[in-house]
Symmetry: C2
């Protein structure tokens, strides 16, 4: 059965411009991955008339409607009441839910907020979807051939209810359990990936593929039906690694820093970083990973040439002869920081982030980088023609990727 969805975000704070709506984007990706196209998305205010309008103007094609927002305890959260009445039901006080909410809030404050009592009223025409993280339960209304889901607006709670209650239900609707495979790539453009795998993917008629490009790389998602998993999954993996090889850096939704952290921990190797153009971004990204202190020792942001000399031991003659943005300099930077910090591995990078500082030989965006492990040393020069901030981000990713490839 082919299903089509609409997503409706309810929230005055979004229409006031105070909050960027990331819920609809997340739900879209999840639904598309489940092979459920999203026909339309809407954002409306916490207003009875507006909610009724949204329900009245749903497309005839739509089988699944997901509302987010408007389930909190504040007065203007009237989504639950309006939708319950729209489908001919009424709200009934649930002693057991009330006890559960009180229990959940007991450790937060001594005075139980009276407004949370509202959350214990539940529709007599809906199924409750338990909220593992908060007090606002999700709701499921069955309306003839259409399924209506209500989720809270807090992103973590919305995701938790979707993951535990809605995704399994939607997968069941297909009459089988599907599996989603994720492959994260970096250092390779979407068009290049298409060139390499699109034709071969024709041999996998059982799967559905999604490409999700971002600044840091392209994520591939494959939906495989339950009955095909045993047969398809090993073949697909073999096919992908054959054509994309080590451009794939993870089979789950994690940052490349985390892959590096894991590989270093496995080997009990330590890391130091010497950055110029990225200005601390590489160290910052590495230190986003919990437990990185077990492997990451120090970072040097050697912005001035004087700092490159004093902190990394680069010679003045080298800087004069080859310039700060050169292969020789990044090699000496990586060797310098590795030796002084006494680490097993090191990354270095030097480039022209822009908008000033470019020359005809070395235009803005020229970046040299180097990675060292106990048994390898590799350099790379890449040219990024974006703005300063994007150049830094691309450059940090390329440098992290250079080290990663030496670790696998």
């Amino acid at each position: 059965m082919k299903m089509v969805a609409e997503i409706i975000t309810v929230g005055d704070e979004i229409l006031a411009g105070s909050i960027l709506d990331t819920n609809a984007h997340w739900l879209t990706q999840e639904l598309v991955t489940l092979n459920i196209p999203v026909l339309r998305r809407h954002t409306i205010s916490d207003d009875k008339e507006e909610i009724v309008y949204a329900l009245n103007t749903l497309s005839e094609k739509t089988d699944i409607v997901i509302f987010t927002g408007g389930l909190g305890p504040t007065r203007d959260d009237i989504t639950k009441k309006t939708i319950t009445e729209y489908f001919g039901g009424k709200l009934i006080f649930s002693e057991s839910l009330y006890a559960e909410i009180k229990e959940k809030l007991s450790h937060r404050s001594k005075n139980f907020p009276i407004s949370n009592r509202e959350q214990a009223f539940i529709p007599d025409n809906a199924i409750l979807l338990s909220n593992p993280l908060g007090t606002a339960a999700g709701l499921f209304f069955q309306d003839k051939n259409r399924e209506i889901y209500l989720l809270p607006g807090v992103p973590e709670e919305m995701k938790a209810i979707f993951n535990t209650a809605i995704r399994p239900r939607l997968l069941q609707k297909f009459g089988e359990k599907n599996k989603v495979l994720v492959f994260k790539t970096t250092g390779i453009m979407e068009s290049e990936i298409v060139d390499r795998i699109d034709e071969g993917l024709q041999n996998f008629s059982e799967i559905k593929v999604g490409y999700y490009p971002s600044v840091l790389g392209v994520t591939l998602k494959f939906l495989i039906k339950e009955k095909d998993i045993l047969n398809v999954e090993p073949r697909l993996k073999e096919f992908l690694y054959h054509h994309l090889g080590d451009d794939i850096y993870a089979e789950e939704d994690i940052d490349i820093s985390e892959v590096i952290a894991r590989e270093l921990k496995n080997r009990e190797w330590t890391l130091s970083v010497a950055e110029s153009c990225t200005g601390g971004l590489i160290s910052h990204r590495l230190t986003e990973i919990p437990g990185i202190s077990a492997v990451f020792r120090e970072g040097i942001v050697s912005y001035s040439n004087e700092a490159k000399m004093r902190l990394l031991g680069i010679s003045e003659e080298m800087l004069k002869r080859y310039g700060a943005v050169s292969e020789k300099t990044v090699i000496d930077m990586a060797r310098g920081v590795r030796e002084r910090a006494g680490t097993d591995t090191a990354i270095s990078i030097s480039g022209i982030a822009g908008p000033e500082g470019g020359t005809p030989e070395k235009p803005v965006g020229t970046v040299w980088m180097c990675a060292i492990t106990p048994n390898q040393e590799k350099t790379c020069c890449i040219f990024f023609n974006k703005n300063r901030s994007l150049n830094k981000l691309y450059a940090s990713q390329a440098a992290l990727n250079l080290l990663r490839k030496l670790l696998i």
Copy 2:
């Protein structure tokens, strides 16, 4: 005249989950600031039926409709054609626009893409809104009492056309030119700001205020009518600085790093940074600012205690006695990096980012920081109880703010 808006985003790539729609959020903030509430937002696909549906289901209250997306040269961008025909017009080839597009593309490639020729067809029932950055012009349709604007989906082009052609037009509709004042604050919660100024703002009946909280602080926006500017603006500024003082760090939409860069340049002072828990984020944020190399010399990410000793001169005894997260240590870190780098000013920071590493005396989120200028030295301890990533971001902002306050 009170106006109400709807925003319609057209784009299959958004409904495929490939792109996060930030255009609608930006337009919402701009419209709200212009005193034009946004009633609803919609995202629909590049499909004739869907565009017609969106036009047919507009609210009766809506005076202004802004479409974004679907004006590019690719085949599926049919917004222009559909809307032109919906309002009874037709597309006519414009030689002059074609010449202009060719001129704009001439430096990009030698082969003029045939698909760009489509962009030279313009409606005979709309006004062209010139695009200073790209080839897809904006369009303005007047439909009885309703104004319909079409903007391209590329964010920079969408913003440029809005800023140059639409905002002035909408301001004119009020019969007067309004002014928007922006005040960026940090280190102070929204509720605290409300407590300090909400009552006093009642004396400014001529203005409309908007609060926009984010992780890095609260932005205040005030809309003042033209006739009130001379009278209100100086009074309002005096009132705000009286109650918020140096918690206001800018009167334009810039990062606190840029304020620091400007103040340092004015004084011809240089800066170095020694970071532990923020792991390079402070240096990264400073180096986002073009031209920062004139003042920023180096950053030390002293993650290990060994690095703190070797790179900053912290004594082992000090670390043993007071710990790495202590006032004494951050003072020595700031003094150490300042002296070694030979800079006029310095920032240091050390804390427990989490999720591990906390103790009862120093729980996860405890952060000590220090800022030094040639004539002042100041420390500060703040406790952040968010996740690792947010703790880093809050901590970097607090440390930058500590230095900023010494520079004003």
